[in-house]
């Protein structure tokens, strides 16, 4: 597992054996980029769509000189360009989400409305997975909140860099906060801080990356919803296995050892039992909450 720690303004890249070919995989098109974890102090942003940190490293290293004397439009362009490799991995999944959504009865208008207003891929995959007609509103909204709870940590990590910006700019910008825009924007800010550039956070760079993600996500989920009916019933082809595949790879990216993963096992067992014995989709809430309770109890032991 590879991780980059952003500590005291410096960037360390750890490559713990195994993935020695990681550099060769920079161009690999992965669902949400490749799976790495970002550790900022004690905070970990993970889940949802993830980002290749090698891409962040290589892109921000390559474009750092431009950051120093770049004007506003070149800052925006720098953000868009740094996001392009991430898009390569995101687009297939946007199409799959769109196709899946039409199987669950969402229209080609409703789905882009969801991805455009909500704009948080992990929660949208979960919502579509749980979607019924009519939808179980409380359950889906609660799961959306839980899946996206990592945004709290991400926003908190970003907050120290936003001090120089007026709130009328911060609040709209935070609408576009996703794993990719956050990771790119924060890594860039850390690097500019290390290079002595003030202010360290470049809002136009961040918005370039964020808007590129946004347009691609909404556009290609809509395209998937339009093309979905042509694909027929996705279950027949095994497309539904994309969800366990995506989630398992995301979880590998969050892996921090057996001890830290014990709450996941609790969640899995409880969710599976509730699924088998209690009708409805409550297994998700039951599994998630029991896992969080386990994490809380375990943290008390340590």
């Amino acid at each position: 597992m590879n991780s980059i720690s952003l500590v005291n303004g410096g960037i360390e890249c750890q490559n713990n054996g195994k993935d020695n070919n990681l550099r060769n995989q920079i161009a690999r098109p992965t669902l949400y980029g490749c799976v790495d974890t970002i550790t900022i102090g004690s905070l970990t942003g993970s889940g949802g769509r993830e980002v290749s940190l090698w891409k962040i490293m290589s892109v921000s290293e390559a474009t750092l000189p431009e950051a120093i004397d770049g004007g506003s439009s070149s800052e925006f362009r720098r953000g868009v360009i740094s996001c392009l490799p991430v898009l390569l991995g995101t687009i297939p999944y946007a199409l799959v989400l769109g196709a899946q959504a039409t199987q669950k009865g969402l229209s080609a208008v409703e789905l882009p409305l969801m991805t455009g207003l909500n704009f948080a891929g992990g929660s949208e995959f979960a919502a579509i997975q749980l979607w019924t007609s009519p939808p179980h509103i409380a359950l889906i909204v609660a799961i959306t909140f839980l899946v996206n709870s990592r945004h709290f940590l991400m926003g908190a990590a970003l907050a120290p860099f936003l001090g120089h910006l007026p709130q009328r700019k911060v609040f709209p910008a935070l609408f576009f906060l996703c794993d990719e825009s956050w990771a790119l924007g924060l890594a860039d800010a850390k690097q500019r801080a290390a290079a002595g550039i003030t202010p360290a956070f470049s809002p136009r760079y961040y918005m370039g990356a964020a808007l590129a993600m946004y347009l691609a996500w909404v556009g290609f989920t809509a395209a998937g919803a339009l093309l979905g009916p042509m694909l027929g019933h996705v279950e027949t082809y095994g497309f539904d296995m994309a969800f366990p595949a995506v989630f398992l790879v995301l979880m590998r990216g969050m892996w921090k050892g057996v001890a830290a993963a014990r709450p996941w096992l609790v969640s899995l067992v409880v969710a599976a039992l509730v699924y088998l014995f209690i009708p409805g989709a409550w297994y998700v809430a039951a599994g998630a909450m029991s896992g969080l309770l386990a994490a809380w109890l375990m943290a008390g032991e340590a």
Binding site: R150, V170, G238, A272
Partner: protein
């Protein structure tokens, strides 16, 4: 109507999580315990969502999940998903 309401509420709670960290947490330090819970949360949610796949009654699905699991531990996102989808499609055709 229920669909629209669900979407708007989803968007609302998601936006709250996005601004929440900035508004509430920027001047505070999370306790170790709260941090541990926050770090475990995404994984707990994700595994709960896919838990039914682990107790499927279709042997083809279980075998495909096992193959997908092994792939997920070793490969990146795109190959894992391709292997998962292909193995599920093939095994359902052959066994299921």
């Amino acid at each position: 109507m229920a669909t629209l309401l669900t979407i708007v509420l989803m968007a609302g709670v998601t936006y709250l999580t996005r601004i929440g960290g900035y508004v509430v947490l920027r001047n505070r330090v999370l306790s170790a315990r709260a941090t541990a819970v926050m770090e475990a949360a995404p994984g707990c949610v994700l595994i709960s969502v896919i838990a039914p796949a682990f107790v499927s009654k279709n042997p083809a699905d279980l075998l495909a999940l096992a193959i997908t699991f092994v792939a997920a531990m070793r490969l990146s996102m795109l190959p894992t998903v391709l292997i998962g989808v292909a193995s599920a499609g093939l095994l359902r055709h052959l066994i299921g």
